[in-house]
């Protein structure tokens, strides 16, 4: 599949926004879906739908096989060692909540430290906050430097012998900083500290290999990877799958249930309570196929090229302030324009068909640190191209015109 013509694979681009072609620069929020994924959902519901893992009739068998085959596919895609390291969740948020809850229950006590960074999305802070308020744990923040990066030395500095877990983002959804996660994991391993990676922004834009990264937990949101809504993946190293207590309780995750006691299922099953998102899981395989057909490295370098082109344009505009200048930038570009509030920018850009996001992007702590209440964010997906960046940068000039600045 050629990236050049890739917009055609995404039905959403057939429509006009305010009479103009859609320039979708909100992929860090959620990506659009290729036709293969959408079609798989309908096709599955139309011809193969059944609840999985519970019945022995033909439809149930087919659905279960398809469903479990996706677990294998994900295992292979992220290079996990065991299929039971793949846990299906509602999203990255649920994945991180699961770890905070199950790990926290067993291993976090009063005074224990949880190390995060100032870059974290609320999803990778609020769940740990619960352990702070309920168990008296301490949250430490590795500081972001003036480039919007978190350096390995800063992480090193914050580790103490009370550090029980490190929870860090792979790529910042604001500064775009790509953190040196493999190195951080190495550092943590020396001290036997488990590491959770919030891979929400990492997984759609980079080659992720659990053996190379070496982390204990890696959380993914499928809807940002050209996949369906309502599905996430939590990679959990086998030793933790075996060791941690279950999360939500319900059907499918039990072994034996009596009036006075309950024993739980083993493997990933322990963490998958209730009816699973069968159609979502099945269609996510198509999203992975789509990515594989193009090649994640090709996607990443294409996105990078588009991003750099856009950055170059914006840098020439003296009224535009680009947030962060990290060593390696993921496909995110946050900015402000002098005397125009990001919210107003987003509205004016939208009038030109350009979809961006404005606000704190669920990163209030980082915005506090930056001393800005809100920023505007353009984020790139495989379907964006340089033309999009031209329209985007023209539209920014239009903002300045409307606001006469």
């Amino acid at each position: 599949m050629e990236i050049k013509n890739i917009k055609k694979e995404f039905p959403i681009f057939k429509q006009k926004i305010n009479g103009k072609p859609l320039v979708y620069l909100d992929s860090a929020n959620s990506s659009q879906k290729p036709k293969v994924v959408i079609d798989k959902i309908s096709n599955f519901y139309e011809t193969e739908f059944s609840n999985v893992g519970r019945s022995v009739h033909t439809l149930a068998v087919k659905a279960t096989n398809r469903f479990e085959a996706v677990r294998d596919k994900v295992k292979q895609y992220i290079n996990a060692k065991h299929r039971e390291e793949i846990i299906f969740t509602k999203g990255a948020t649920e994945g991180i909540n699961l770890v905070a809850s199950s790990f926290g229950k067993k291993y976090i006590n009063k005074g224990d430290e949880i190390l995060v960074t100032e870059l974290e999305h609320h999803s990778n802070y609020v769940p740990w906050h619960y352990l702070r308020s309920e168990k008296g744990a301490v949250i430490k923040f590795a500081q972001v430097n003036s480039d919007g990066d978190v350096e390995i030395d800063e992480i090193k500095k914050q580790i103490t012998n009370k550090t029980k877990i490190i929870a860090i983002t792979h790529i910042s959804n604001v500064t775009g900083a790509v953190l040196p996660i493999a190195k951080i994991v190495d550092l943590a391993k020396e001290r036997n500290i488990p590491v959770l990676i919030d891979g929400t922004q990492g997984a759609p834009h980079s080659h992720i290999d659990m053996q190379k990264i070496g982390c204990d937990f890696y959380a993914i949101s499928c809807h940002k990877m050209y996949g369906p809504n309502g599905l996430g993946i939590l990679y959990m190293k086998k030793k933790w799958v075996d060791d941690l207590p279950p999360y939500q309780g319900g059907g499918g995750m039990i072994d034996e249930v009596k009036q006075d006691s309950i024993t739980f299922a083993e493997e990933h099953t322990k963490f998958e309570a209730g009816t699973m998102q069968t159609a979502e899981v099945v269609s996510f395989a198509e999203a992975l196929n789509f990515i594989e057909k193009i090649g994640i490295k090709n996607i990443a370098s294409h996105e990078n090229e588009v991003l750099e082109y856009g950055l170059e344009k914006l840098r020439k505009n003296n009224s535009v302030n680009i947030i962060g200048s990290p060593k390696n930038r993921g496909s995110v570009l946050c900015f402000t324009i002098k005397d125009i509030h990001p919210h107003d920018i987003a509205t004016i850009l939208d009038d030109d068909g350009v979809a961006i996001r404005a606000g704190h992007h669920c990163c209030q702590i980082l915005h506090d640190k930056l001393g800005i209440a809100a920023t505007a964010r353009a984020s790139i997906g495989v379907y964006n191209n340089k033309e999009d960046m031209d329209i985007f940068s023209e539209s920014i000039k239009n903002c300045q015109k409307v606001f006469q600045v």
């Binding site: 005397d339 919210h343 107003d344 606000g359 209030q364 209440a373």
Partner: protein, 146 residues
Amino acid sequence: MELKELYQEIILDHGKNPRNKGKCEGFTNDAKAHNTLCGDKVHIYLKLNKDKKIEDLSFEGEGCAISLASASILTETVKGKDLSFITRVSDDFINMIKNKKKITINSLTPDQMTTITSLSGVQEFPMRVKCATMAWHTLMSAIETK
């Protein structure tokens, strides 16, 4: 073109040079609000006198042009007015933004009328409704506190 309706001269002016900004002296009531979606904040201070008139008011806030203009216009509109006027104008304003209704109160000066209706373009931008109404809701909360 709708965008021009939204960002009218009056709004840009109020957004850039908001009136009555700060903390007014001797305020008796105050309330604040926060739009978690975009980070807009507003804090309204007011001095109610014995006759239930707003003798003075002011606001602090951060936010987009719409939210700042709305707060600024609010302070100009209700300063020196009594509670029954304020309730009516506030209802009218919210109704205009949310339900595309006309302003019905007839004790506004033509100038005030022009100013307040300059915000009516927000009707067409549903995600911006909260930007325009937040200050007005906060005013009512401030009045209810003591």
